[in-house]
Subunit: 348 residues, 2 copies
């Protein structure tokens, strides 16, 4: 498996990743094989499969690497449940039990394909915010014409302030530097115009704070710039980030579906498809978001990766890789150090 998109810097210590084996649209039938894919390639890391052990073991089969362990969790939070209520009522849900392993120091990261809201709530309630962090942020790696950049917040906190965006910028830069291996990551705000400071009041406030910081702040990027790699970290409020990533998914799917229909239209479509197959494979590789794995929830006391509900085994294996890399790089510790150091410096 090519994990070149997930690089680590510094020490190569082994880590323990708790995987919510029951989460996601496809449940353990995809999550368990995905976790095993990772485990077989990385025998030094421990994979802890959390869920209904009997079912999880049955799916895992007999040929399970020695580095894989099983932890029982009797309940599952469904994709349509209200997160707060579900977390209150299902104390034995797989995402709750998996997160508790991180809390108790028995795992270094948790990875889930389950309900995003439940995963975030389990992390915030179960692990708590990192010291000095006002609000955690959910980040994602975005496809561009020349490698991914980090976009955040894509859904943790609507109504963020300029000071929140400022913290997101720091957290995103730490992730880009330590997990993606980008030296001095370029940080930008997503806004309405490219002139620095153009935007709404919170963008203007964040601009002031970032201008005065030691980050490599390059000003604004616009919507049209998101397909180019103008910045390594792009910061925005949750509503804007969430609409952006979902529109990315919706629009690219729409275009590729139109193309697929034309390539299937007889008599010429199938022949054109045969001729274009290598080219289409190259385009598919550009849009291979499965390799980007999952979204780190930054700013909580532990490494938490939330991947797509529709993720299949290949994407799950990459999500585990992102979790392992973030845990190995001690991202939560680095974030805590950054904000303890800055505490009271620029919070308004």
């Amino acid at each position: 498996m090519d994990l070149s998109s997930v690089r680590t810097t510094g020490e190569e210590r082994n880590v323990r990743v708790a995987v919510d084996a029951m989460g996601g649209d496809h449940g353990p039938e995809e999550v368990v094989p995905g976790a095993l894919l990772y485990a077989r390639e990385h025998p030094g890391d421990t994979i802890i499969l959390v869920g209904r052990t009997e079912r999880v073991r049955a799916i895992a089969g007999r040929d399970v690497p020695a580095s894989v362990t099983f932890v029982e969790a009797g309940e599952v939070i469904g994709m349509d449940e209200a997160p707060a209520l579900a977390l209150r009522e299902k104390r034995d849900a797989s995402i709750v039990v998996a997160t508790a392993l991180v809390k108790r120091g028995q795992a270094d990261a948790v990875v889930t394909a389950g309900h995003t809201g439940a995963g975030m709530a389990a992390a915030v309630l179960g692990l708590g915010r990192s010291p000095g962090v006002d609000r955690p942020a959910l980040a994602v790696q975005m496809v561009t014409d020349s490698g991914p950049f980090v976009l955040l917040d894509i859904g943790a906190n609507p109504d963020s302030t300029g000071a929140n965006l400022f913290q997101y910028a720091h957290m995103g830069a730490i992730f880009a530097e330590r997990v993606l291996g980008v030296a001095e990551p370029r940080v930008a705000l997503l806004s309405i115009g490219e002139e620095k400071g153009k935007g709404d009041a919170r963008i203007q406030r964040a601009t002031e704070l970032l201008d005065a910081s030691d980050l490599n702040f390059i000003g604004n990027v616009e919507g049209k710039d998101l397909v180019h790699h103008l910045a390594d970290v792009v910061v925005c409020d949750a509503v804007l980030g969430n609409v952006t990533i979902k529109f990315f998914e919706g629009l690219s799917t729409f275009i590729f579906d139109l193309l697929r229909a034309e390539f299937r239209r007889p008599p010429r479509g199938p022949l054109a498809y045969a001729l274009m197959k290598p080219g289409l494979d190259r385009i598919r590789a550009v849009f291979d978001y499965e390799k980007l794995g999952g979204s780190p929830l930054l700013g909580v006391r532990g490494t938490v990766i939330i991947t797509h509900g529709r993720a299949r085994r290949r994407m799950i294996s990459y999500a585990v890789a992102v979790g392992a890399a973030a845990a190995r790089a001690r991202i939560p510790d680095l974030i805590a150090e950054t904000f303890q150091h800055r505490r009271g410096e620029a919070v308004s």
Copy 2:
């Protein structure tokens, strides 16, 4: 010319459209032929070409329809100028003179491909807001899998409130009903989740106001829904709307550029292209944003259409058509009637 995308309802009175002949990246060389394209198809409407008359007449040539008139304006606001400063210093700029024709009742609409900020500022300063409207909004028609919907605000006002979004919803619905011919247009808010009311504080406030209104309010749409025609009017703040339309342009261009490169790659690409040409033309027709013409600035005392700076003659002709249709439907009067009637009803 097929103007089926621009329907009018009600009376078929003739209108006078003032065209900023100097605006846009391509200047009068594209704007003037575009305006003439419209004039030849619609001899009942008057087209007023505003700019350096000598140059405009030279481009128009000898065969000018009798319905086309010329108004002198000696200056031009460049695409890179600061709008407020330029408007102060260039009293004789083509966009200022064209807007003044509407103000004085000598034209029913103004159409410009010039600097968007300058066009909006000229309209707001020159015409003023419609009575009862707190903030104007810039709208655009968005491409979907089944005909366009209206998205607004895409750039007039950052830091809008829930009450502003409520007014945008009314203005967008009037445009959709009277210019696009949609009966009882479905109105939605663009947000982070599909459950009604999910989003930030202003989306929640707008939800309350819209729930209590007589609009056909259907709740939220998400980013992934923007390629489907789930709503006829989608309302959001300027930063979100602007990033959305620019990301649409950036991402679709990115994908089509990747495809173009593969279709040009010898030896198989050109053959595949020849086979797929009819299919690609069908896809191109879906993404034919030129037919959508231009963006109406809703909520000012007059019909104002701002089209793409890169618009060429074909798109200019459609922008003039949108301006004529909106003027014919008396959109500014309908907006004023709506808000005078509602004044003080829901402004918070």
